[in-house]
Structures are given as C-alpha cells and as structure tokens.
C-alpha cells in the first residue's frame, strides 16, 4: 500500500499535493497514541497489532518511494520523453527503475521500524513476545528481566544488517 501510494503520489503531482500534507500530519502522530484507538476499533487481538506494525512500516516506505520518484534525474526523463514514453510506460520503464535504490532504502528502514512496532504491539494484551516480556519485567519488577530482552532485540537488528 505504501509502495502503491508512493508511486501514484510521486508520478501525479496533483495527487501528491492532495495526499502528502495529510500523510505528513499522520506521520507525526506518536505510535503509542494509536494504541488506545486501535484497541477500541479493532480489539486487543491480532488485527490491532498487525495494523500498528503496518503503520510503522508504511511511512518510511511511502516517503522513500515518493522522494525517489520525484528526485529521478530530469535528464533521464527528458530522454524518455523525446523517445515517446508517456504515462505508465514512462513510470515503469524509467521512473520506477531509477527510484529503486531509494525504494530499497525505504524498505530497509520500514523493516527496522516494523520490528520496533512489533514490540509496541506486544504491549497490547499479548501473552508472549518481547513486548510482553518487557511489560512483565517492568511490573514484576526487575531490570534483570528487561535487559536480556533488549539484548535479544538488538541482536535481531544486528543479524539483519550482517548480510549487507
């Protein structure tokens, strides 16, 4: 969804002007502010958690896609233009391939944020998972319970980056 909206906004200026201010406003809402609303709207089970993770991953990917497409070298676009590429053919043959590096950066950032939002989502009435264990450590109480969870979380991110 972030990719689709990002592509549409990046290609069609009027959509960008209409959509972008709203998306930027929503982006500035802290993730925890969504928690009570999502619990109210979607309950305390999986749907609200998945949506919260989705919100976390959405913005970096959307922004990277829009920025990538809007910053495609105008000189390449002109070459496509004089060779009669217009509309979808221009988008698929030039704009998307040229903005792929930026889109992949957004995917990577989105993946990182999604992990963070997994933990946040697990604060919402989960019975297991890192978020649940952190809450458990906080309420029971004992830093010795919390630190290993944070270490495990960091370990996951480290392994994510080792292959790059």
């Amino acid at each position: 969804m972030a990719l689709t909206l990002g592509v549409i906004s990046g290609i069609i200026p009027i959509i960008y002007r209409l959509l972008n201010p709203t998306i930027q406003a929503i982006r500035s809402v802290p993730s925890y502010a969504w928690v009570p609303l999502f619990i109210l709207w979607f309950g305390i089970f999986e749907a609200s958690k998945i949506l919260l993770i989705g919100v976390g991953a959405f913005f970096p990917l959307y922004l990277a896609t829009v920025t990538g497409i809007r910053n495609v070298d105008r000189k390449l676009v002109e070459v496509a233009w004089v060779n009669d590429f217009r509309g979808w053919s221009l988008a698929s043959r030039v704009l998307l391939p040229a903005s792929l590096p930026g889109i992949f950066v957004g995917l990577r950032q989105g993946l990182g944020l999604a992990w963070m939002f997994v933990v946040a989502a697990e604060f919402m009435g989960a019975t297991h998972g890192l978020g649940f264990l952190l809450v458990d450590g906080q309420t029971n109480p004992g830093a010795s319970l919390v630190w290993p969870r944070i270490d495990r979380r960091s370990g996951l991110r480290t392994s994510e980056h080792l292959n790059r």
Binding site: E78, V79, V82, N83, D84
Partner: protein, 260 residues
C-alpha cells in the same frame, strides 16, 4: 545579417530550395521574464549540417529544446515540411544513458514503444557502425566518456531519423576523442543521409562540420550572422579557407560581445 557568399556544399544545395524545417519567429521566455531567445527565423535544409554557435547563455540549448519538443515556444512556430510525424533523434551534452540498462538495451530504448522484431537487428547494426558491437553487454558505468557518447548517438539514430539534433555533444570530451567522434559523426552523416542541427561553442568544430554556421548573440539570443560554408570535405584546420572563415566567425562573436 551577414551571409557568406557562395553556394552551400554538397547535398545541402538541393535542400536549400525546399527546407525541411522552417523556424518561424520563435521566442521562448521562462516564467514570463526576459526571453532566452527571441524572433528566431531560419530554415534547416534536408541533408545539410547547420551549426549554431554562440556564447554561454545566448539560448543555443533553448532552441534545440524547443525543436525537440521539450519546451513549448512562447510565440512563433516550427513547421516540418514533411509532416509533423517526422522522426528526429537528439544527442545531449551528456550521454544520459539509463544506468540499469546495458549498451544494447540503451540503444533499443531509442525505439520508444515502437519495438518490432527488427529492433534487435537494427540496434546491432548501429552499434556496429559506431564501433561498439563488442560492448553490447557492458553497462554505462563500464564505458569511457567517448564510448558512452557514441552509445547516445547510436540510441538517437537507431530508429533511422532524418534529423539529428546535437546539443554540444562533444564538449565534455578530450581533444583526441572529440576529433575521432567528429569524424565518426560525419561518416554517419554520409552513410545515413542525415540532416544535422548542431549546437556548439567551439568555432573549430563549427567550421569543420557545417554547411551553414548560424551565430547568435546577446541576451535574449538573436541571430546576428549566418555563414554558408563551401569548403570541401574532409576539411583541414590548417587550410587557409578554414582559417579565414574561423576568423570571420570569431569576429562575428566578438561583435556580439560588444553589442550585448
């Protein structure tokens, strides 16, 4: 307007009688401010090499962009005598190759959406002509500046246009590569019966290639002088006629500076 006496050379003579493109009082202003070019009026004859020279900022590139359809003229019009569907190719100052496509794919990009079964063969044919057949699978990052510019020329020529627009295509290259590519371009001009419209600030290049030199002056740019070149090809820089014409063009440009 100073027109150098003498007939246009070679194929341009026939075209002189029936222009391929009529540039009719073209003015282009960006954002309603002072125009970049004003009241341009001249013809491009089929088979000719028209070279436009002028100092930086005189609107040379603006005119080529208007001709290519990348900018709409503020006033005036461009009339194609063979109909508006006349294909043209354009070569920019930089090669502007798609970095994710290899050489052959970049050349085929020149077909736009009109690819046929023949496209591959035609791409190979033009790559052969520009001497890059062996580099078909190379990517732009693996090419030298001269090779990349030859790919750009091949891309512009692959659909067999009748007109090739060149916007200072060799200005970023070293002297020896530039000379080689100039020879290459003239070979393609002969082999493919092309019409060339070439923009440059290099007077030597203009005298070396042109049937006609158009000098533009000032801001906004106006045509100040036109010279018909009847020197035989291939031309030698040390030739007296070459030097004499070069002097005249330089004088015209100096005159331009004093007036602008």
């Amino acid at each position: 307007m100073d027109v150098w006496p003498g007939f246009p050379s070679g194929r341009a003579l026939a075209g002189f009688l029936s222009p391929m493109i009529r540039i009719d009082r073209i003015t282009k202003a960006y954002g309603g401010v002072q125009p970049a070019i004003t009241e341009f009026e001249f013809n491009i004859e089929p088979g000719s090499v028209t070279v436009m020279v002028g100092t930086t900022g005189s609107g040379k590139s603006t005119l080529i962009r208007v001709l290519a359809g990348l900018e709409a003229p503020t006033s005036g019009r461009i009339r194609w005598d063979n109909g508006s569907n006349n294909p043209f190719g354009i070569v920019f100052q930089e090669p502007r190759l798609m970095p994710w496509l290899n050489v052959r794919q970049n050349v085929k990009f020149g077909f736009g959406l009109k690819r046929t079964k023949e496209s591959g063969r035609l791409a190979d044919e033009i790559l052969e002509q520009v001497g890059l057949r062996a580099f078909s699978r190379y990517y732009p990052r693996q090419l030298s500046g001269g090779m990349a510019q030859r790919v750009a020329i091949a891309r512009a020529l692959v659909k067999k246009p009748s007109l090739l627009l060149l916007d200072e295509p060799f200005s970023a290259l070293d002297a020896s590569t530039r000379t080689r590519l100039q020879q290459h371009l003239m070979q393609l001009w002969t082999d493919r019966s092309l019409t060339l419209f070439f923009v440059t600030h290099d007077i030597d290049e203009a005298v070396l290639l042109a049937d006609r030199i158009v000098v533009i002056k000032g801001r906004p740019g106006r045509i100040s002088h036109q010279f018909r070149v009847d020197l035989l090809r291939p031309r030698a820089r040390q030739d007296k006629g070459f030097q004499a014409l070069k002097e005249r063009v330089l004088e015209a440009l100096a005159d331009q500076k004093s007036r602008s």
